[in-house]
Amino acid sequence: MSDYLPILVFALLAAALPLATILIARALQSRKPNPAKLEPYECGIEATTFALDTRFSVRYFLIAVLFVVFDVETIFLFPWAVMFNRLGLFGLIEMLIFLTILVIGYFYVWKRKALDWA
């Protein structure tokens, strides 16, 4: 259990740092709220609707999906790498099959031009 003490200290520090930043900023800032400041700039005309545009492109989502899939792949790679010496050739072939299947998907994504940004 005591092995986790450094992690606890680290987690507390990680939580304290942004909290401290926010609190210090709040203490130091000058605040003069004004309704005009909250309006979007629209050439003097009062805003009537909210913008319904797409704020992010769906392409970002595709990148995020690929990230998650390869994240999970890494999860399987990690214990294999740790035990690589013991698993030997059997493990190597096993992992090559695993990776080949995923690389097929990667080439599909590439051919579909899901990674193109133009």
Partner: protein, 101 residues
């Protein structure tokens, strides 16, 4: 405090029920997906508890597979959410009531 397998079963049952209620009661597509993730997490909790109880690693291995399934499910579910939003401008599950695009 002494914890037995029954405590684990109660916790994972409650977690599963909360997820089930979320799936059935919420309208927002995203919240429904999050509730499914809660249910999968409850299953993992059970797998780990029984793995510990039986001193067998199989439960741990299978919870890794369950996490894999959860990742794939989130990817497809969220892609569907985006498709639904593009077509209908809504996230309400009740508006997704026709089969053709």
């Amino acid at each position: 405090m002494t914890i037995t397998i029954n405590h684990f079963l109660v916790v994972s049952f409650l977690l599963f029920s909360i997820g089930l209620l979320g799936v059935l009661v919420r309208r927002n597509f995203l919240t429904v997906l999050m509730s499914v993730e809660l249910m999968l997490n409850a299953v993992n909790l059970n797998l780990i508890a029984f793995s510990r109880r039986l001193s067998d690693l199989t439960g741990q291995v299978f919870s890794v597979f369950v996490i894999t399934i959860a990742a794939g499910e989130a990817a497809i579910g969220l892609a569907l959410t985006i498709s639904l939003f593009r077509q209908r401008r809504t996230l309400n599950v009740e508006d997704a009531n026709t089969m053709q695009g």
